[in-house]
Subunit: 498 residues, 2 copies
């Protein structure tokens, strides 16, 4: 049985019907009374479901006539395909950091006028004034702030506030089970060092967050890329296949909620299965949950950690994307490895500075964080919808697209044979940065893909930037067509992959 609220289950049901064209554009949606009678739900549940679909742009309310199915917003876009269950050989990354660094360094050139490749939203979408005021008050309040050595583990009120926020994700943690880190990066670094040694194999989603690939390379840990669905996340079947071939997998690193870059959300049943499967196979599960607060629904997504009964799940999160990109504030709950992780953190960088922690704790306790998240979610949804529409109408025919139910990215698959490296290079020449698929995997499998950031509100500049990328993509796609006779383009990446 699904653990989603009833109105969500109802909305899912009709979303599916609309997707399958059981209900076609222009059709009248069953009335609220019909829904109540058919499904045995309350008036409020029926209304909530309709409003949810309306917010998603699937239904339109007409005064005194009820809800109607909208014309599809993305006529020319197909969802990206489900992956096949291929498991690659575990790769010792040599050079992927260089490849990623090359891309990131180019993205920071002064000639870049628009960044569509970043992983945060526009600065104006964050509560920057409230946080600065909280920091000023903290400076005022504590004269000894800079004079005394920092406390281990982090600021107690912040750890308490985070433990309370975790309750919404159904995770039960005491503040003492939480350690504040320098962003999710340090949390992942700590988690991996706690469970794996150089040369060990760790399973990761494919495609995955490039920062994870950099951490793995820096640690000399070998990554086994497991196919990941844009709908349902990491493939459990592929994991099962992998464990038969590789006996020594030390950990699975996964983002069950709003996977980066795909945006997939694992169904709760699969999250539970993943947790149990890892435990049964003696493999640590490292859960990266740094984006789940940006899901469209105000109802929190459930964390995989919530099914953990044995401490086998290491939970990593951060406030970087959701609250303040300028703060490097992450946290980790290390389960049965927590003591070792505390030791490693002490040897890595000592505890974090206090000021940011104090300011953020105050902001969360005041209720400002939840209010901010509601605004951020609405803005991201609006921006993502607009961006998806823009991609749909302007990218080359044959482009496929994943439109996630949250977060700030679209994952775009250009027509077969189109090189995202070429799109990246040529768009850069015109001042726009998009993240090419090749940095999200060591496999070359995502060569025709782009991750596009939807963190900025619609503006003339953004429209122009998207138009530039679209024009470049159309050009590169045309050139890639066999008929065009274009010479193969040389790669800009000089990467050695062992």
């Amino acid at each position: 049985m699904s653990s989603d609220p009833l109105y969500q289950q109802l909305a899912d049901h009709y979303r599916h019907a609309i997707g399958a064209r059981t209900l076609a554009p222009g059709d009248r949606m069953p009335s609220v009374r019909t829904l109540m009678a058919t499904h045995g739900v309350s008036l409020s549940t029926a209304l909530q479901a309709c409003r949810q679909l309306e917010r998603e742009g699937l239904l339109q309310a007409r005064p005194r006539s009820g809800y109607f199915v909208c014309a599809p917003a993305r006529p020319s876009i197909t969802s990206i395909d489900e992956p096949t269950n291929l498991v690659a050989d575990p790769a010792q990354y040599i050079g992927i950091h260089e490849r990623i660094s090359y891309v990131l360094a180019r993205s920071q050139q002064e000639s870049v006028k628009f960044n569509l490749g970043g992983a945060s939203a526009a600065a104006g979408l964050y509560p920057i004034d409230a946080l600065r005021n909280a920091a000023r008050r903290a400076l005022q309040r504590d004269p000894m702030l800079y004079g005394e050595a920092v406390k281990p583990r982090g600021h107690d009120p912040l750890r308490t506030a985070l433990a309370r926020l975790a309750l919404a994700m159904r995770v039960q943690l005491s503040p003492d089970e939480i350690l504040i880190t320098h962003g999710c990066t340090e949390a992942l670094q700590l988690a991996l060092r706690a469970v794996a040694n150089p040369g060990d194999v760790v399973a990761v989603e494919s495609p995955t967050y490039y920062g994870l690939l950099q951490i793995l390379e820096s640690l000399g840990v070998r990554a086994l890329e497991i196919p990941c669905s844009a709908q349902t996340g990491i493939s459990l079947e592929a994991l099962e296949l992998a464990v038969r071939s590789y006996k020594d997998i030390k950990a699975v690193v996964a983002m069950p909620n709003l996977q980066n870059p795909l945006g997939s959300i694992m169904p709760d049943e699969q999250k539970a299965t993943l947790v149990q499967w890892c435990e049964k196979n003696g493999i640590a599960l490292i859960e990266d949950d740094c984006s789940s607060a940006t899901a469209d629904s105000d109802m929190a997504l459930r964390a995989a950690k919530s099914w953990d009964r044995s401490g086998n799940v290491i939970y990593c999160s951060s406030l970087h994307k959701v609250l303040a990109p300028g703060m490097r504030l992450g946290w980790i709950a290390g389960g049965k490895w927590h003591a070792r992780i505390e030791m490693l953190k002490f040897a890595l960088s000592r505890p974090n500075e206090m000021l940011t922690q104090t300011a953020v704790a105050e902001f969360i306790v005041s209720g400002g964080y939840e209010r901010h998240l509601r605004r951020l979610r609405a803005a991201l949804k609006r921006q993502r919808d607009w961006m998806a529409q823009a991609v749909a109408t302007s990218f080359p025919p044959g482009t496929k697209l994943s439109v996630p139910r949250g977060g700030m990215h679209l994952w775009v698959e250009l027509p077969d044979g189109t090189s995202s490296e070429q799109v990246f290079e040529r768009a850069l020449q015109e001042g726009v940065y998009v993240a090419p698929g090749v940095i999200f995997s060591n496999s070359g499998r995502f060569e025709p893909c782009l991750r596009i950031n939807c963190g900025s509100p619609r503006s003339a500049g953004l429209e122009e930037a998207v138009a530039i990328v679209a024009a470049v993509a159309r050009k590169v796609a045309r050139e890639a067509m066999p008929a065009s006779g274009a010479a193969p383009v040389e790669s800009a990446f000089r990467t050695t992959v062992a």
Copy 2:
């Protein structure tokens, strides 16, 4: 030829004469005119030398009679012995982190009323108000501070300011050769990861900073302990012996200026020799220079890095001890490994937050940092002298002591057979924390030693704390005497050392 200023060389000369009792207490010091004639120096140089010795408590000015040699301030204290050139087997630390963590955790118990084991000065000795004001101004000035992702490498003006400060230590660096880190801990972590892999051997001073031993254990790097003199630092002879036995030493980690815990300062000639020796042997030199700004002299100590011509020296420093214990601000100049270190830092924790960097850059540029250091040095000198006197008059007979020319520690060697663990445990029971010798080495060689912090101004509380430690030390020393027939005391440390 020494590169010390002339007045220092002159002061060294007479300091030695006084130490050797060539000039005994009560003797008249050669007059300033005699000094000028004998050594061919200027009036100002002769005067500076005398004043330097006066500041050190070795000379006393009597009106119209000139300078006289003072009665020795520490009648009952012998300097600690020079180490013998024994090189231990390289140790894979297993458990030393646990041993250190046990000590540190005890030091943070609420029952601790006085901390004589810490590594920073009293909060009031730091410019806490000026730094808070600088942080407030930075918050005011930059509305986007928390809204935008942090910049790589660190805040440009801070890196420029640090490059300028390094000039005084005769180190030539461009701002681009400097990377801001989370304290010296992260800098050392990065340096070690750049040059060594798990299982590799790294030479360290013995005794050494316990934080370094923790980092080595966390990395699985094997430490080869090289004897270190309380006067002249790491033994070059022992290093030469070590390299004959171990072909695969990857790095030497050393603190040439104000070694922690001994407080030794390597003579410049030896620093130069160390740099050349490391280069000749293809061994990286990792220089930890985080305390040199607390040396008694306003004339900066020269860094070993200043002799580096090939990029073989990785220079690590921090502002933690000298400017603000509550800021985790360190930096690294990685020489020929700098690009790799930038990569590792990105994968470790991303760049540091901006606020602290902005505030500190402003403070340094305003001249506030140099003014603060002059005050801090004078206070530390005063406090160290008082503490040495207090130890001299109250610790058990046979105690030896190193009194460094800077910093905030004394290194105390109790009479043979006295267990510093026992002193640590019993002093804790009376509310005072001192750092026992066993956390500064894996060898057990420093069992009778204590590191005592002199970072706090003299006060009734401090006097009481020292009296408590002295009484405990006398008691433990008496019990350790063979005649006493005391049963051997069980160790509080359950450490497995492979």
